[in-house]
Amino acid sequence: MSDIPLSATREHSQPRLLSLLWQDKFAFVAALFLLLLTCCALFGPWLLGDAAVAMNLRLRNSPPLVLPPVEQGWLYVLGGDALGRPILARIVVASQNTLAIAAAVVPLALLLGGALGLLAGYAGGWISVLILRLADILMSFPSLLLAVVVLYVFEPRVANLILVLALTRMPVYIRTTRSEVLEIRERIFVDAARALGAGGLRIVHKHIAPLVFSTLITIATLDFAFVMLAESALSFLGIGIQPPEITWGLMVAQGRNYLNTAWWLAFFPGLMIMLTTLSLNLLSSWLRIVTDPAQRWRLESDHD
């Protein structure tokens, strides 16, 4: 046997991933943006928490990008809201709640829905029927209505909000996972794994779940935007996040009244929702290519 460094591939995988990210400029910018957002979410409330709630009635609905901005201070570069609070500061501070909720809801829905979908697809029989009908019920019931009912009955606490949003997003994952599993389990390599002695759990865990996962990640990034919007709708109805807490969705909802006179109130938080979703999408499609061995060469340049 030859002496080869057994861990060679693992050691250079980290810098390699970065260089692959650099190859895709869109994904790189998206990653930077998300990094910035994460920083905002982590440190924003601590840095700008006071500024975000400081009212300045002289600057009510003050327009953005006024030159020179010296007079108002740079926090007003995106304008002021209906109570004269700086929109930039509010966006930064609101990123924490917004991202925290979405970041809790989406993985929760993905894990629960994915697990149920795997079960439904691989076990089949009455288990599958039961899970699918559950998904049908969740899907046929208007998700916003369900959320309203649940949040009225229970308290509109953040934990409840997360749970109910996760529940309403679950059916997509259940159905997608199940249909993917049904296709993958018929593939020959699953038979081959069984013929070489792998049990059911091992096959689901090692051979089926990893193949479904990339699809689920793609859906999850799209879901991120949906959850932000759903959260804003609930906040708008007064049963989501309660003021003075802020989220982007809540800012959009509050700014809606002033669209005729001060479009920037709703526009900038809305833009943030869009940019975040877009970045996640770009990054996820990059991730999908990187994790697919047959596609990875697209990102590997000759001078690599």
């Binding site: 046997m1 030859s2 080869i4 057994l6 591939t9 018929e186 593939r187 020959i188 390599f189 038979d191 081959a192 794994a193 069984r194 013929a195 070489l196 002695g197 792998a198 049990g199 091992r202 090692k206 051979h207 990893p210 193949l211 994790t291 697919d292 061995p293 047959a294």
Partner: protein
């Protein structure tokens, strides 16, 4: 005769669907001894692959059901064993190589991972040891620079190399029996020969029994010790390979041999067996081959011929086997 390592007795497999019941295997019996190569020869739909799937317990149920028979491995009936016990036999005692390694290997894992996965499924092997074992196995099946290729993915290998990887996986735990389901069908002829050479070389080394499922008479002639010819889910003739090629006693075997293109008769038309294999949901009464048989009598339409001895180690299921033996002599 040496004692059988694997013995299939009177196996019945059927697939139930909305359109009716497809009787894929109808009373197949054969045995395989240590160190022996048994070729199961038949057209598509003759039930040969389903028989292999039944041995490996990879028939999806529903729609597939094993309706009867026994599969004895080392004296134990696999069909009565619980699932878990069969999983411990699969891979460890009986390995399997599939027809098309491209779809039989998982596309998202490196080949090294997949080989070590077989080891880890059965033994507590550390990653490091499993990886070293995988490299060793790849070397053994003739992958050049195995240490560099162990992290490559299936699509980065050529067809022949992929089949070698598949063989390495199947042999990872040194099974006593290897089932090869059309191992060379997806390969071109030169690579076919290499793969068959590799299989017989490995077989000589480990004295494993090789169950070779194929429709390729050339492969059979090269590699097999004995042949079982299957038609419509039954074994219609079983004999040592020389006997099959020189003195076939079943008209179907005779037809198969006649349908081979021969270089010494250039310009002749091919002699295919007329008609098509029967619909397994509607197998004709009597001998299932009678609609295509040139020798069929009235008796063949009504009475199913049983497999009986027609010589030493030669068994055949045909009412007119003596006459056919005479013709083929």
């Amino acid at each position: 005769m040496t004692e059988a390592l694997l013995e299939v007795q009177d196996l019945y497999v059927e697939f139930r669907s909305g359109g009716g019941t497809v009787r894929a295997v109808n009373g197949v019996s054969f045995s395989l001894a240590r160190g022996e190569t048994l070729a199961v020869l038949g057209e598509s739909g003759s039930g040969k692959s389903v028989t292999a799937a039944a041995i490996m317990d990879i028939i999806d149920s529903p729609p597939g059901f094993i309706r009867g028979g026994r599969i004895l491995y080392a004296g134990r009936d696999l069909l009565t064993l619980p699932r878990r016990a069969r999983r411990r036999i699969n891979g460890v005692d009986i390995g399997m190589v599939f027809q098309d390694a491209l779809i039989a290997l998982n596309p998202v894992y490196s080949v090294g991972w997949q080989i070590s996965e077989v080891l880890r499924a059965h033994q507590r092997a550390s990653r490091r040891m499993a990886r070293a074992a995988a490299i060793h196995l790849l070397e053994r099946v003739g992958i050049a620079a195995a240490a560099n290729r162990v992290d490559d993915y299936p699509h980065q290998f050529s067809g022949g190399q992929r089949q070698r990887v598949m063989i390495a996986m199947a042999l990872a735990l040194k099974p006593a029996i290897l089932i090869a389901d059309e191992p060379t069908t997806a390969l071109d002829v030169t690579v076919q020969a290499q793969i068959m050479d590799l299989l017989s070389e490995l077989q000589n080394e480990t004295a494993m029994g090789l169950l070779l499922i194929t429709h390729d008479l050339g492969v059979v002639a090269d590699a097999a010790d004995r042949v079982a010819v299957m038609y419509a889910g039954r074994v219609v003739e079983a004999a040592p390979v020389r006997q099959i090629f020189q003195h076939p006693a079943h008209p179907y075997t005779l037809g198969l041999l006649h349908s081979l293109p021969r270089s010494d008769r250039k310009g002749d038309k091919l002699n295919p067996i007329r008609g098509a294999p029967p619909d397994l949901a509607r197998i004709p009464p009597g001998c299932p081959f009678h609609p295509r048989c040139d020798f069929a009598l009235e008796r063949c339409r009504s009475e199913l011929p049983v497999l009986r001895d027609s010589g030493p180690e030669h068994r055949v299921a045909c009412h007119r086997s003596e006459e056919i033996l005479h013709v083929s002599r």
